[in-house]
């Protein structure tokens, strides 16, 4: 694998970075926070053609490296939109021959199977009419609404029921489980990319602060204790980004990639939290106030990690994949 991005990939990364910088500024994120969703950002993503890029079509599209570049940028800007969920659900529907979903509709998806017909705190669940999930041995698409609850990761999470309402069975038995497993791996990879982006952004913010803030007559970034704390997590964030990109590249190259996606998610989600903790700490008391941004990063990072299920179980999966692979 060539770790450098191609010119086209660079162009995609910078187009989306610009879009998120504009449409998901910190002010916009703060305004969208309690809903976990920014409709204007969503329209901008639909208009720029995110879903044509992310879903294979007659004119190309669907390269996973492109997807993770978008997701990294989204993670950096704390985007309030169910990007991973919608991309993953749409790709799955397409693989199963259902491409009649309204273009541009946000969707909810959970990488976890339903418990007694219910998906707890599914990301996107409070804004998406359509939720796609595994209920026992059937893969279902359910239309409905949920009043939603405010989740502190502002992921528009909500409890959704899979066994009532307007429900279409997409697959049953082993093919359902298999299709869901692939989609869950895709979700983990896209979400891992978001976590890596979030970690890198938190460190950039911390680095800027450490250069500006003076104590004892010098920038706090000149203290070894501060440098080492940031450098330690910077290594991890770097590693998370490499893992994400390698898994995406494997996927595009037709190589086994699912286990690598789980590794990337387990590691990037943990790294996101560690990076944000470090960033918050470097800000001293200011980092703890609602006026500064670390709190936004911290809550989002925890939300992204828990959306994938018990973090220990994710690591257990990493181990099991190693043993069985």
């Amino acid at each position: 694998m060539d770790l450098r991005l191609s010119d086209d990939e660079q162009a995609i990364a910078s187009a989306f970075t610009d879009l998120f910088a504009r449409e998901s500024s910190r002010d916009r994120v703060r305004a969208a926070q309690s809903a976990g969703f920014d409709p204007a950002l969503w329209s901008a993503l639909v208009d720029i053609g995110l879903f044509d890029l992310a879903i294979p079509g007659p004119d190309g599209g669907g390269a996973f490296v492109d997807i993770v570049l978008v997701a990294e940028a989204a993670g950096r800007h704390l985007a309030c939109a169910p990007i991973a969920e919608t991309i993953v659900a749409r790709r799955l529907l397409q693989r199963l021959g259902h491409d009649d979903v309204p273009a541009g509709a946000p969707m909810a998806f959970s990488p976890l199977p339903a418990q007694q017909g219910r998906l707890p705190m599914v990301p996107g669940g409070s804004v998406a009419d359509l939720v796609l999930g595994l209920d026992g041995d059937t893969l279902v698409l359910v239309a409905g609404k949920s009043s939603g609850v405010e989740d502190f990761g502002f992921l528009a999470a909500a409890d959704r029921s899979l066994d009532g309402g307007d429900r279409v069975v997409l697959a049953a038995g082993p093919p359902a489980a298999q299709a869901h497993a692939v989609a869950a791996a895709e979700w983990r990879l896209v979400t891992a990319a978001g976590c890596a982006g979030l970690a890198l952004e938190a460190l950039d913010v911390a680095g800027r602060y450490a250069r500006d803030r003076h104590q004892f007559g010098v920038p706090i970034g000149s203290f070894q204790a501060v440098q080492e704390r940031l450098a330690t997590v910077a290594m991890a964030a770097d590693g998370a980004q490499l893992l994400v990109r390698e898994a995406a590249w494997c996927c595009d190259a037709g190589l086994p990639w699912e286990a690598a996606a789980t590794v990337a998610y387990a590691y990037a989600a943990q790294t996101a939290i560690e990076s944000v903790e470090a960033a918050l700490h470097v800000h001293g008391g200011y980092g703890y106030t609602l006026d500064y941004d670390p709190q936004l990063f911290l809550r989002r990072a925890h939300g992204l990690r828990l959306a994938g299920g018990d973090p220990e179980a994710v690591w257990t999966q990493v181990g099991a994949d190693r043993v069985n692979g």
Binding site: P120, M121, V149, E150, D151, F152, G153, A157, H214, Q215, F216, G217, I220, F223, A225, V226, E277, L280, H281, G284, G285, G287, Y288, T289, L290, D291, Q295, L298, R299, H302, G303, R305, L306, A307, G309, D310, P311, E312, T316
Partner: protein, 388 residues
């Protein structure tokens, strides 16, 4: 090794428990709820609770009887604080545990008589005003000035993070009386009534929900009698108070671990033999050991105080251990609870939302009372004699 807790002290503890058990349950419940929501602002119910304790003779455990205290040792004071922490009830916070003891140590006889008795009556509450926007870790660079004027001083400048100032009656203010280049040798400590003309207090809201404040001093008149210790000799008073503060944190981690245990019990994880319950039990076991170490560090500090010493590196060790532990308990607790623990509305949330609340407030303990990096410096320099 000597027994730290003697029979007499155990009797004290059981008397205390009996007393607390007998208090009006409504008063206790209201004080607890308020204390959990924001422990740094004892408001109506917490103040009523403390006044009740005062009336019944249960405050000022280690203060002399002549000031209305119980005249016991710091070990009993520690037992008292721990018991209240364990019930998540207010134990007098900075006023009783930091400012009061420092006035006893460095105040003059008049100040001791006046302030200790008023603290005991529940009449006054202190907030601590050291930090400034540009003087955090480097406290000795603070710029708020107290300029001599007649028989007192005029105070001007800005403080930040003065927690509890919105409900406090008095501020415990560090100000510069000497030249800036004198650094910590040019500071003095003042007791300033919070309603003095020229003081403006504005709120700051934190991610953990606690309120803290910014304070602006605009030529505030402070009589010389309000200065604690000699002019330019305030650093001694400030560091003593900081050590009391770093020592007074102790038992919340135990309470938080109990919230986790209660949640786990309800979820059937305490006696199960699934992978999840093993994981939970292992985590609980590890944390329980850390909680015990935390308790012992605080007890050691109390024993030093009882022997007339002020803990220094020991206080820093205590503070780091306690703060990191709270963060660990809440963070692993939330992982175990999972996504359902991320609901912001705490009605019906797992463990009543206490662990999420704890998780969001715990980062502050890595810098409140001085950042952990500064504490590590103190442990290395003061505790281990490393060169500066």
């Amino acid at each position: 090794m000597k027994t730290v807790i003697a029979d007499e002290q155990l009797t004290f503890l059981s008397d205390l428990r009996e007393y607390l058990d007998g208090l009006d349950p409504e008063l206790v419940a209201a004080a607890r709820a308020e204390n959990i929501e924001d422990p740094m602002q004892p408001r109506t119910h917490c103040q009523a609770f403390l006044r009740q304790l005062g009336e019944d003779g249960w405050l000022g455990i280690s203060w002399p009887k002549e000031f209305g205290g119980q005249g016991r040792t710091d070990i009993e004071h520690w037992l008292f604080a721990e018991e209240l922490y364990n019930r998540r009830l207010p134990n007098g916070l900075l006023t009783f545990n930091v400012v009061g003891p420092t006035i006893m140590l460095h105040g003059n006889p008049d100040q001791r008589r006046e302030y200790i008795s008023r603290i005991m009556d529940g009449e006054i509450i202190f907030a601590i005003s050291y930090s400034e926007p540009d003087a955090g870790s480097d406290l000795a660079s603070l710029r708020t000035r107290a300029v001599a004027d007649g028989d007192g001083y005029l105070l001007s400048g800005q403080k930040i993070w003065s927690t509890g100032a919105s409900i406090a009656t008095h501020l415990w203010v560090a100000a510069r009386t000497g030249p800036p280049e004198a650094r910590h040798r040019g500071l003095s400590l003042f007791i300033v009534p919070a309603d003095s003309p020229g003081i403006t207090i504005t709120p700051i809201i934190t991610q953990g929900g606690e309120r803290t404040t910014s304070i602006f001093f605009d030529d505030v008149r402070v009589p010389a009698t309000q200065r604690v210790g000699a002019e330019n000799d305030g650093w001694k008073t400030i560091t003593a108070a900081l050590n009391f503060e770093r020592m007074f944190y102790h038992n919340e981690p135990r309470w938080e671990l109990r919230q986790l245990a209660e949640w786990a019990d309800g979820a059937g994880l305490l006696d199960g033999s699934t992978a999840e319950s093993y994981e939970l039990q292992t985590v609980m076991g590890e944390h329980a050991v850390d909680v015990e170490v935390c308790r012992l560090m605080a007890l050691r500090g109390a024993a030093m105080l009882a022997a007339g010493q002020v803990p220094y590196a020991e206080a820093s060790t205590n503070k780091i251990w306690w703060g990191e532990l709270r963060q660990n308990i809440c963070s692993t607790g939330l992982d175990l609870i999972g996504a359902e623990g991320t609901v912001v509305d705490t009605d019906g949330a797992p463990a009543s939302g206490h662990l999420v609340h704890g998780l969001m407030s715990s980062p502050v303990w890595r810098f409140g009372g001085g950042t952990n990096e500064i504490q590590l410096d103190i442990i290395a320099n003061r505790g281990w004699g490393m060169p500066r």
